[in-house]
């Protein structure tokens, strides 16, 4: 019998690729973020609003992750910015290898901002480093204010929380204050924005934050 002490990270292969992506993006001075949320909370709408506000000021590219279809890439393509679609065919998360392959489909070197929209899922994508600079988690008011407590890893690993669909607050049983309290109990360092992609509320503040990150 032989007992071998290994102590190797299960996701070490992913992390090597992610670090390679991070170095490449940094070398081209690209600010990148991994946009995470449950399905239907408004990730693609937020990306659309962000592009509408920023595309005349700064060059933006998008990687779209979905389980099926390239519908999201079609929406982004209409806005005239580079976009690559990853279809995971059932996979519940993006990994760094998928992002590396997607980067070969866009001329990323000329970008200043790269948005990676992950598969809609508040569980599985939390542990997979994609080589992004930071993680942005989006939570909509229709999902309820208890979600940070139910999906703590996602909120712990993110640096930004966007509370979306605030225009629907009169119609849903959700407290923005409670979302903030619950999220900050998990991660006191979260930077929080409140947005509506329908009314455009909060979108300028969010876009100014992105610009500040990109210009650092």
């Amino acid at each position: 019998m032989t007992l071998i002490t290994v102590e190797r990270k299960v996701l070490e292969k992913n992390d090597v690729v992610a670090n390679d992506i991070r170095l490449k993006l940094k070398a081209h001075n690209i600010f990148s973020f991994n946009l995470l949320s449950s399905p239907g909370s408004g990730k693609t709408s937020l990306v659309e609003r962000t592009i509408a506000h920023l595309k005349e000021k700064i060059s933006i590219g998008v990687i779209e992750g979905d389980v099926q279809t390239d519908l999201d890439a079609q929406r982004i393509d209409l806005l005239g910015v580079p976009v690559a679609q990853i279809v995971t065919n059932g996979g519940c998360h993006l990994d760094a290898g998928l992002v590396r392959d997607a980067l070969t489909k866009i001329d990323y070197a000329q970008l200043q901002i790269l948005i990676i929209e992950n598969v809609g899922n508040l569980v599985c994508p939390a542990g997979f480093d994609l080589g992004e600079e930071t993680k942005v988690v989006l939570l909509s008011t229709t999902e309820g204010d208890d979600k940070p407590l139910k999906y703590p890893a996602m909120f712990r690993n993110a640096s930004v929380l966007i509370i979306n669909k605030i225009d629907l607050l009169p119609y849903v049983n959700c407290s923005v204050q409670k979302i903030k309290e619950n999220a900050l109990a998990i991660n006191p360092d979260l930077k929080i924005f409140e947005t509506s992609c329908t009314t455009d509320a909060g979108i300028p503040d969010w876009c100014n934050w992105i610009l500040a990150q990109a210009n650092q």
Binding site: M1, T2, L3, I4, T5, V6, E7, R8, K9, V10, L11, E12, K13, N14, G91, C92, H93, D95, V123, C124, A126, G127, F128, L149, P152, A153, R156, L184, A185, I186, N187, P188
Partner: protein
């Protein structure tokens, strides 16, 4: 269901430790899983067992060591173990803390046994 991806990686890492004479089999693999990793142990085990069927790793056992969340307070230095996911010092209430364990997701140990020795014992 990211446990399937994790099981594939665990198998891939383990395969790198077979000796060149091919005269051994994996008896067990010890995996450490931190509570912050969102991994369902039953699901990981199910995926692992499904993947090793009819392979040279068949019958290998996965042993999971659960690693709790431990926090160190930057204010008072208190080290605490958290049952839940609230990241504040239970002693002084300060939220400036360092997570010192709970993020683990590692292949920790692999136990091989010699195939020919086993046959001799059986005979």
């Amino acid at each position: 269901m990211h446990e399937l991806s994790l099981a594939q990686e665990i198998i891939s890492i383990t395969e790198q430790y077979y000796s060149s004479d091919n005269n051994e089999r994996v008896k067990s693999i010890k995996v450490k899983i931190g509570k912050l990793q969102n991994v369902l142990p039953d699901s990981l085990e199910f995926c692992f067992n499904a993947l090793i069927q009819n392979s040279k790793m068949e019958n290998a056992k996965m042993m999971i060591e659960h690693v709790p969340i431990k926090l160190e307070c930057k204010n008072c230095g208190n080290i605490s173990e958290q049952d839940g996911y609230l990241f504040a010092c239970p002693k002084c209430g300060c939220s400036a803390i360092t997570v010192i364990s709970g993020n683990e997701l590692t292949v920790s140990e692999i136990e091989f046994e010699n195939v020919s020795n086993n046959k001799e014992v059986l005979n």
